[in-house]
Symmetry: D2
């Protein structure tokens, strides 16, 4: 768990219910997207909110907990690592995806 070389921490809201995938070998994977919001005032003094969406992946015991505890709208704090993946889409174009493999998470906020 090389947390000193590659570590991400986010606090944000889930945009969807967790998507669960179970493999033959009783491995479990959960995917969910999380939005982080950043607010600032622009030149005209208007409040602007930038939203960034992040692809989260949970494995095994962490996936089981995510499946049981998390749902759309929840405010969640996570610690994980950045990972890249690539695949070929339906049009035959190679696509690159950056994901966050979650090591630990925490439900925060009122929604729970």
């Amino acid at each position: 768990m090389n947390t000193l070389r590659n570590s991400v921490r986010l606090v944000g809201n889930l945009g969807m219910d967790p998507e669960v995938k179970t493999f033959d070998s009783n491995k479990k994977m959960v995917r969910v997207s999380l939005a982080t919001n950043e607010s600032y005032k622009n030149d005209k003094g208007e409040k602007i909110t930038d939203t960034t969406w992040h692809n989260l992946v949970f494995w095994n015991t962490t996936a089981k907990l995510a499946e049981d505890l998390l749902k759309k709208g929840d405010e969640v704090a996570i610690e994980g690592k950045l990972a890249n993946r690539n695949y070929v889409d339906k049009e035959g174009v190679k696509r690159y995806v950056s994901e966050i493999v979650v090591n630990d998470f925490l439900k925060v906020g009122a929604k729970g």
Copy 2:
């Protein structure tokens, strides 16, 4: 600098010299890619090294420092935030890129 909502920390090596871009409005941007290496032993006891490549972006004063201090091969610690960007490539395909906008960096290691 909403570091509690969106924060990445990496320690790794630069795969290239910094690419510098200066805009009309005396703004400066630097791009560089950084590799984080994770080692583990597989089922057969062989040592495996996984490398993940990260796209780093530096702006303004941080960009100036990066241009002056960093070069290919350097070991660097960074703190930044995740950001997404999209563009249309030469074939007209919409591409999504995940980048790390660097707030602070530190040269570590012997190469300095």
Copy 3:
């Protein structure tokens, strides 16, 4: 803001209302203590909760926000740096205190 060399992140609950101190030079300082709780099961399968208390210090604009927004019981996420201080107590014994100087905080949870 040398966040790469010295950085603390905590999520916990405030044990008291913020204590505000204003100096001549319109500087403001706020102190508050925060508890982090860690749960685990002991050898007998009993759930044990360890609580650690942390001394937080806020300065100036961050202090103003802390004074306005925080109160006893709130769940709060903070980012800061470790600092040491010493003083001589009433019995003339030199005392050392470790504190966290807060750079940024976030109210999380329902209590707000």
Copy 4:
């Protein structure tokens, strides 16, 4: 390893060789102090360096690695958690100590 609730990250230099203590129950503990240095310019433009000393504690396998790899002067990155401890000193005065229990460390810099 509740790294979301209580996490410290430091990059600094060791002020001493590791002190190793082995217990009956083949448990191992290592203590070492680490200095973090912060530089800034004061009102007169003089460069000031503030040093903060941190008490690090390593247990078991991490302690074994620290004993083997670390020595006085080394530049080290660590991730750990804050913990408090108290004891009665020789004069019968109750003393409180704040320590960092290290989860993971990385030798950085040239000394290795």
